[in-house]
Amino acid sequence: MTNFLLQGNNLYCERDRRILFENLDVSVSAGEVLQIEGPNGSGKTTLLRILTGLSDAYEGELLWRGKSVRKVREHYYQEMQYLGHAPGIKQALTAAENLRWYSVIHGSNSVAANDEKGNKRIADVLAKVGLQGYEDVPCHTLSAGQQRRVNLARLYLSSATIWLLDEPFTAIDKSGIRSIEKLINEHINEGGAVVIATHQDLESVPNLRRVTLSGVPGDR
């Protein structure tokens, strides 16, 4: 009996008659980081979208705590946080409004309320990603890196067990990367798990395993 949190067995996926990966086994257990590497176009984002359960374009078996994700989708989503390729924030809304909306749809009411406590929590979290004072600034006036940071701030508010992160360091500066690595370390120390697609060497992260997608084009 294994105690993997998330497990993909014998995954197969093709795009436009090109095999992205086949016979791929990925797994991550509590306290562990799984890094997905591979050249551009090798299917890192596709694999992550499959692992979220968003994409159905695969064959094979995907298990959350030993049960098929298709069957326990709702339980899985209660414990899963996904930061995708897209910015994931509404340009017209302020940083605080974006975070508040996320806290409602993720069912954590800690900052949902527009009261003193909620506002303070949001200010704290934004300060942690280097955006103190930006609570009420509409996101379309922020730079690409700052918008990325608003999205990353969700991780500080997250109570999810597993994080699936797709290129979280895009447009983030060096000190930002260090603090995200620190956050990842804290998360796995508390028994969480992380699946991350990135080209960064995650030097400071212990318990790191790597999966490399070859990206070698294979015809069907």
Binding site: V104, S108, P138
Partner: protein
């Protein structure tokens, strides 16, 4: 594991508030269907005839076709921007019931497109010399019929979301489904102008609304999963 569910109204209101705030920060999107409605309706007297009797005859049809097209024009707004910035996939990945979120999104679409059309319609009806006794029926059919069109249209919008050129395909998908609404609503207004009872028509429109509130969100959620799944 404690359940991380917010209440139905909590989620519904949060979604509604979000879409409203976004819409009111882009007022031009907001005005588009309304201006389209105004322009189309005001072209008819110029193109056909300014004769009051003739205009009164065609007014129910003109008003309803124009509002149908205005709704069709605004369907893109429901999911497109959420799809592009990635918040739509986040919504699908949240542990909250997608039914509620979709219901809120369609409702806010109606508040921003159908409701203004219904409210401004008496003005345009006067311009077309629609008899005064049909005025309330016109507003009522629009109040019942436009949400039905928002719901049906949202199914089509959800299905075509990943495609690059959605305009024509969306119209082809959705227009045939709008026809029952159009027939019953326009003939209700017509009957009201003639002084005939319209209870039956309104009841049928109401039934369509009830059905679409219950069933459309399920279809929309399924369509979104398909569209985002590949």
């Amino acid at each position: 594991m404690t359940g991380k569910h917010v209440t139905f109204s909590g989620l519904f209101l949060a979604m509604l508030k979000r879409d409203m705030v976004i819409a009111f920060r882009h007022p031009s999107d907001l005005a588009n269907p309304l201006i389209f409605f105004l322009v189309v309706v005001s072209l008819f007297p110029m193109a056909i005839t300014p004769d009051p009797e003739y205009l009164a005859e065609i007014a129910p049809g003109v008003l309803w076709v124009a509002s149908l097209l205005a709704t069709l024009l605004s369907l893109d707004l429901i999911f497109q921007s959420d799809y592009q910035d990635g918040t739509l996939e986040q919504l699908l990945l949240s542990p909250q019931p997608i039914y509620t979120s979709v219901l809120a999104k369609v409702f806010s679409h109606w508040l921003l497109s159908g409701l203004p059309l219904a409210l401004i319609s008496p003005l345009l009806a006067m311009m077309l010399f629609l008899p005064a006794q049909a005025m309330w029926t016109l507003v009522l059919t629009l109040l019942i019929g436009t949400p039905v069109m928002s719901f049906i249209g949202a199914v089509g919008a959800a299905l075509t979301i990943g495609l690059r050129k959605t305009g024509l395909l969306l119209s082809l998908l959705v227009l045939p489904l709008y026809i029952p609404v159009l027939i019953f609503a326009a003939s209700a207004v017509h009957n009201a102008a003639l002084g005939i009872s319209v209870t039956g028509h309104l009841a049928l429109l109401g039934a369509m609304l009830a059905l679409s509130v219950v069933l459309a969100p399920l279809a929309i959620a399924a369509a979104l999963r398909i569209s985002l799944g590949n």
